[in-house]
């Protein structure tokens, strides 16, 4: 038996300022490279962009200082750096498409989304005094999540793109409600599990050495979860169903501390994956394109064309990359969304890609650390859920692009083109900031008290 005691916790607002400055420098430098190498050269627009980056970073820093003074100092800068890199890469892809005669404005649209995302996240931090308030809306969140998932199936509202029906058109813009549903479900799972974890873990019959919960304890959450999975299968959204399944199992594990859930979850997943592969032709094609990606037959038929082009792109990037603006990322279809990691891998090389993944690692670690530090069960589950969701989502995307697992479409948080993903992920960061503020507040308060007493 041992207890872990924090000897000194630095508030770290100064570290955050330094890190934000580096993050801003990354965002501005990336755009400068893109403009100089692929675009019209460095001109006045860069100055405007730089001013905007500095202004937003400063505003975010001041707001966090005022409203969440003990929040984690690393979270915000890491996300800023990722966001800046993503925007620069999208601008680079715009230029590449322009060279090939296709006029796109990914960067412009995404800059707007990033702005909305950042500002709304800051508003969440400012308005939400305590994450525990969200626990009141446990079931509301569950219903909202389900409705959000169902919206694309509504006739007239939903839009089908490339076989997946996961978009809705609102005011001429297409939104992906599934991204918001992810956050809603994290809140629902957390709120439900925190009230029922004891009965889930302790009551119920024991089968094969695994304690199964009673149906009435697990029922509501199982219904919501099964409905979510069914809807996503109907919408042919493979990646998202995988994400939801993993999120559910992980949160159940965190809540009940029973490793048996992980074993059961992985087993169910294996069964589901094999069944989906044999039952649905589009899933079977994904397996084929993954296992035999480099077969001439599969490649020529176009099944693995995108995947292999992505691999070629990353290979031509090598260790240090071709340099931002000097590669040809648009040879890969959907270089701006699903394959943004391949685009970044080509132009920044393995070194750059590893740095990007390390930044994600830092964000995920901070989320899990906040979960350990915070004292209420709801906050623990929300933070762990958000952190795990980001880690799993990234694994599914990067694993798919690098041919570790079959390719499924999911957005890369903060990097890929897509407004819903950008805004929803920023909200997630806002929640994490809020939870980490609560988690570190007690420790820093007593450290300050100690300093005063001395």
């Amino acid at each position: 038996m041992a207890t872990v005691l924090e000897v000194s916790v630095r508030v770290g607002r100064r570290s955050e300022a330094v890190l934000l400055a580096i993050a801003g420098a990354i965002a501005i430098a990336a755009r400068a490279f893109v403009d100089a190498n692929a675009g019209p050269g460095i001109d006045g627009s860069l100055a405007v962009y730089s001013a905007a980056v500095v202004a937003i970073a400063a505003a975010a820093h001041v707001l966090v200082r005022l409203k969440a003074p003990d929040a984690d100092p690393v979270l915000l800068p890491a996300v800023f750096a990722l966001n800046g890199l993503g925007l620069a890469m999208l601008r680079r892809i715009d230029f590449a498409y322009l060279d090939r005669g296709r006029d796109t404005s990914f960067a412009q649209t995404q800059t707007l989304w990033a702005l909305i995302g950042t500002v709304s996240a800051l508003i969440v931090v400012a308005v939400l005094p305590d994450h525990r308030l969200l626990r009141r809306y446990t079931y509301t969140a569950g219903v909202l999540g389900l409705v959000g998932l169902l919206l694309p199936l509504a006739p007239g509202l939903g839009r089908e793109v490339n076989g997946a029906r996961i978009w809705v058109s609102v005011f001429g813009r297409s939104l992906q409600p599934g991204e918001f549903a992810k956050i809603a479900f994290v809140i629902f799972f957390a709120g439900y599990l925190v009230s029922h974890r004891d009965t889930l873990a302790l009551a119920g019959p024991k089968v094969l050495g695994i304690r199964l919960p009673r149906p009435r304890d697990l029922g509501p959450i199982l219904v919501v979860w099964a409905a979510a999975l069914l809807v996503q299968v109907a919408e042919r959204d493979l990646g998202a169903s995988l994400l939801f399944f993993g999120l559910f199992v992980a949160m159940l594990y965190v809540a009940t501390q029973r490793i048996s859930w992980v074993i059961v979850g992985v087993g169910l997943f294996a069964v589901g994956a094999v069944m989906a592969g044999t039952l649905f032709s589009h899933v079977g094609a994904r397996y084929d394109a993954w296992l035999n990606a480099l077969d001439a037959e599969v490649y020529d038929s176009g099944k693995s064309y995108q995947l292999v082009q992505g691999l070629f792109g990353m290979a031509s990037g090598g260790l240090f990359g071709t340099g931002l603006g000097d590669g040809s990322p648009t040879l890969v279809p959907y270089a701006e969304s699903d394959f943004i990691m391949a685009s970044l891998g080509e132009e920044l090389g393995l070194t750059g890609l590893m740095a990007i993944l390390s930044l994600y690692l830092v964000v995920v670690q901070r989320a899990l650390r906040a979960a350990i530090g915070v004292r209420d069960g709801f906050g623990k589950l929300v933070a762990a859920g958000l952190g795990f969701a980001m880690a799993l989502q990234l694994f599914v995307v990067v694993g798919g692009v690098t041919r570790v697992i079959p390719l499924t479409g999911l957005t890369t948080p903060f990097l890929a083109y897509g407004g819903s993903s950008m805004i929803a992920n920023w909200w997630g960061v806002a929640l994490l900031l809020r939870i980490s503020d609560v988690a570190r507040a007690g420790a820093t308060a007593s450290a300050t008290a100690a300093r005063v007493a001395r």
Binding site: V9, S15, A29, A78, R135, T351, G442, A450
Partner: protein
């Protein structure tokens, strides 16, 4: 621009990226190493002897300095904290600051314990005149300091245990 400077700039950007990562990790170090693991029970004394750092940090004894033990400390004085020694939050420690600590099932409490035998706002631990007090907030199943049922605020001194529901809370230095 010459080829060399282009390459240098390109590598410079990668260095900038890694600088971000490394500075971030440097900031996180306080979280990785800024903790002290205290083991309890049997292993405690044995470990303390073998742990060189613990010896170095120990306050000089009275014999060597002539100072009353505890009057001077070589590092930041250990703040009082609550250690939860049994129940669902077993092993958790809660640092105590200048503000009262509310224990109960309600989400608004400082220490939220999921225990069916606890009231929503069960008891309060608060500092006054440099001492700690524990007070029952009209809980259904009561708060016990040792074997004594607590109603009005009673002094809660170091090493004493408060029992609420299935949870035992100990005040430690």
């Amino acid at each position: 621009m010459s080829q060399l400077s282009v390459s240098l700039l390109r590598l410079g950007f990668l260095v900038l990226l890694w600088a971000m990562v490394l500075v971030a990790i440097a900031v996180l170090r306080s979280d990785l190493y800024g903790t002290r693991v205290t083991s309890r029970g049997k292993g405690r004394n044995r470990r303390a002897r073998h742990d060189g750092r613990a010896n170095k940090r120990a306050a000089p004894s009275r014999a060597s300095t002539g100072v009353r033990p505890g009057a001077v400390s070589t590092r930041a004085p250990a703040v009082a904290h609550l250690a939860i020694t049994s129940g669902s939050l077993k092993g958790t420690t809660v640092p105590l600051g200048a503000s009262p600590v509310l224990i109960g099932r309600a989400a608004t409490c400082t220490v939220v314990i999921e225990d069916d035998f606890l009231s929503a706002r069960h008891c309060r631990i608060f500092p006054e005149d440099g001492r700690w007090f524990v007070e029952d907030l009209g809980s259904t199943n009561g708060t016990f300091l040792g074997n004594q049922k607590v109603e009005d605020p009673v002094p809660f001194s170091m090493g004493e245990r408060v029992r609420i529901g299935a949870t035992t809370v100990e005040l430690r230095a």
